[in-house]
């Protein structure tokens, strides 16, 4: 039962990530392979603020969101001036810089050992240590994030973003500031990724750089492509399937545990391979 709860919590945290990434790749069409970096910045900020500065969970989370949104400007402002193809590599190098910074900044992040003993989240004096109570927190936060993204998608701002994806010059011609819209999209996506980071750091009460490496960024992209670009139900479905699938592999008795990682990667790769060729818009995405 505990195991099932664990999987559900991981799915909810990943949903926050994939849905927020949807703002970038799904609506705006910016392919920034660095979402795990935002996730990591959010997680480490929350963990350090709660452990060292003694802040509560929610105030630490809001600080983390603000800081992550600020960090996203580091790549959004120079990145959006350059061509799309460069943006990919640019975001990618940002991901690597953040990962190696977390890994090597021993004084702040304790490097590969990670940060242990992060206090559990408390609401009105009630500590959310048990899995069911934490699941409730995840559900509420995940629900809020999904609702916010849904409102964002259907707002005027969201429509402009979708327009940017389809025809940037047309949007420019009606007097919209394309770069400003992209920067805000970046900041919103990064800030929401920090929510997932805050959740993971108080969930296991331990974080290490391994959670925030390139593989996580790639996982987010694959989950979104599987579910469908620009579709919230698609993003949720993709996360659900891709998070649960590797866990199901554990129940195959013939598969030795050393091959689990390889099998998981193989499945992800085959999914990506298949979808790019035969259904690039994903299961629930709209074809254009």
């Amino acid at each position: 039962m505990d195991y099932l709860l664990h999987i559900i919590i991981m799915i909810l945290i990943n949903i926050v990530l994939v849905v927020s990434f949807n703002i970038l790749l799904g609506y705006t069409g910016i392919f920034a392979l660095c979402h795990a970096a935002f996730y990591g910045i959010g997680a480490y900020t929350t963990a350090l603020l709660m452990k060292q500065a003694g802040l509560g969970f929610f105030s630490a989370m809001f600080c983390a969101m603000a800081l992550t949104a600020l960090c996203s400007l580091v790549i959004a402002i120079p990145g959006l001036r350059i061509h799309w193809d460069y943006m990919v590599i640019f975001a990618f190098s940002f991901q690597m810089v953040v990962y190696h910074l977390i890994l090597n900044w021993m004084d702040l992040t304790r490097g590969p050992q990670g940060i242990a003993g992060i206090p559990a989240a408390t609401i009105f004096g009630y500590e959310l240590i048990s899995k069911p109570s934490f699941l409730a927190l995840c559900l509420v936060l995940c629900g809020i994030v999904v609702y916010m993204v849904w409102r964002f998608e259907n707002s005027f701002f969201g429509l402009v973003l979708k327009g940017i994806k389809d025809d940037q010059i047309a949007i420019k011609s009606i007097g919209k500031d394309v770069t400003l819209h992209k920067i805000v999209a970046f900041a919103v996506a990064a800030g929401l990724a920090a929510v997932a980071g805050a959740l993971i750091s108080v969930y296991i009460c331990y974080i290490s750089p391994g959670y925030f490496d390139l593989h996580m960024s790639v996982f987010i992209v694959i989950a979104l492509i599987f579910g469908g670009l620009g579709s919230i139900p698609g993003a949720i479905l993709g996360t659900l399937v891709l998070t649960a699938l590797p866990e199901l592999l554990r129940f195959i008795p013939q598969l030795p545990s050393t091959m689990l990682g390889g099998t998981r990667d193989l499945i992800y790769a085959c999914i990506l391979l298949f979808f790019m060729l035969f259904r690039p818009q994903g299961i629930m995405g709209k074809s254009n």
């Binding site: 940002f94 690597m96 790769a269």
Partner: protein, 293 residues
């Protein structure tokens, strides 16, 4: 002083290794103008194929290298024909090519990891041949790497500038539609050039396998390095890829003098980050490549 000299030589040897990767990727990228990353998987498989030939089958290294090169060419032809070319027909967006070819690479690496595990495999049995020049020590394979890199530099310059294949692929790169109009088979030329580029990268894999060894995720790492070499040197330029690779080799080895080794990667990516932010055309890049926003 000896330390600095040894580090410098080591940096040049590592740089030569990266320069081979960079030039191979430059050949692929300059023709396709797409981030086709499947060569990372080809790299891993060529390295492991060479390792099997040299250790399990006991074939002498030189012959094993020739067979592995042929295998590499055939493999990349298969990958292009079966997948990347199909993908290119369906969509001309570079994001789908990049993700699809990344999936090919991930798949090939995952298969390798499942069959052989994650250990490092070195093709050469016994002690490495060490060449001593005064106070400088260098393994013979590293020396061959430098020679190969220089030879390939000259050869690609010649092939790309003078031979029909090179001229055709430059024409396709500069104007794909017009080259079809004048009767060039763009797809055939792209596949052929990509295979030649992959074979160069495969040569890099063989040299690494004989020297320090290969492991499943090495393809991905090499892909990163090749990428960086091309970006650093400048997209669209061969000399750029060569110098970019050399520079990365030096950047990775020289800071060891003053900084802990862990910081190498960070410095490397920070430099890449700054280059793209402030000088996106690279050090020697052509100016007009897609500079519009």
């Amino acid at each position: 002083m000896d330390l600095i000299l040894n580090l410098l030589v080591d940096g040049i040897c590592t740089g030569a290794r990266y320069a081979i990767l960079g030039m191979g990727f430059a050949l692929i990228f300059n023709t396709q103008r797409m981030f086709d990353l499947s060569f990372g998987g080809v790299y891993t498989w060529t390295g492991f194929f060479f390792w099997i030939l040299a250790t399990s089958l006991g074939i002498p290294l030189v012959f094993a290298a020739i067979i592995a090169l042929l295998f590499c060419f055939a493999l990349s032809f298969g990958v292009q024909k079966l997948y990347v070319s199909q993908l290119r027909k369906k969509s001309d967006k570079s994001v789908s090519i990049m993700l699809g070819s990344m999936a090919v690479m991930m798949m090939m690496e995952a298969v390798t990891a499942m069959i052989w595990g994650g250990e490092i495999r070195v093709a050469r049995m016994g002690a490495a041949g060490i060449i001593k020049l005064g106070s400088i020590q260098i393994s013979d394979i590293k020396l061959y790497t430098v020679i190969c890199a220089l030879a390939l530099f000259v050869a690609t310059q010649y092939v790309f500038m003078r031979t029909p294949l090179g001229i055709k692929s430059r024409a396709i790169a500069s104007n794909p539609r017009l080259s079809v109009v004048v009767g060039l088979d763009a797809e055939k030329n792209i596949i052929l050039t990509t295979c030649v580029g992959c074979a160069m990268i495969g040569l890099g894999a063989i040299l690494v396998c004989a020297d320090t060894g290969v492991y499943p995720s090495i393809g991905f790492q090499s892909m990163l390095i090749a990428f960086m070499a091309v970006i650093l040197g400048g997209i669209g330029s061969f000399e750029g890829a060569f110098y970019g690779g050399m520079l990365i080799g030096l950047i990775r080895t020289l800071p060891v003098l003053r900084l802990p080794t862990l910081w190498q990667e960070l410095i490397l990516f920070a430099i890449l980050f700054c280059i793209i932010a402030f000088k996106p055309n690279g050090l020697l890049g052509i100016k007009d490549w897609k500079s519009e926003v």
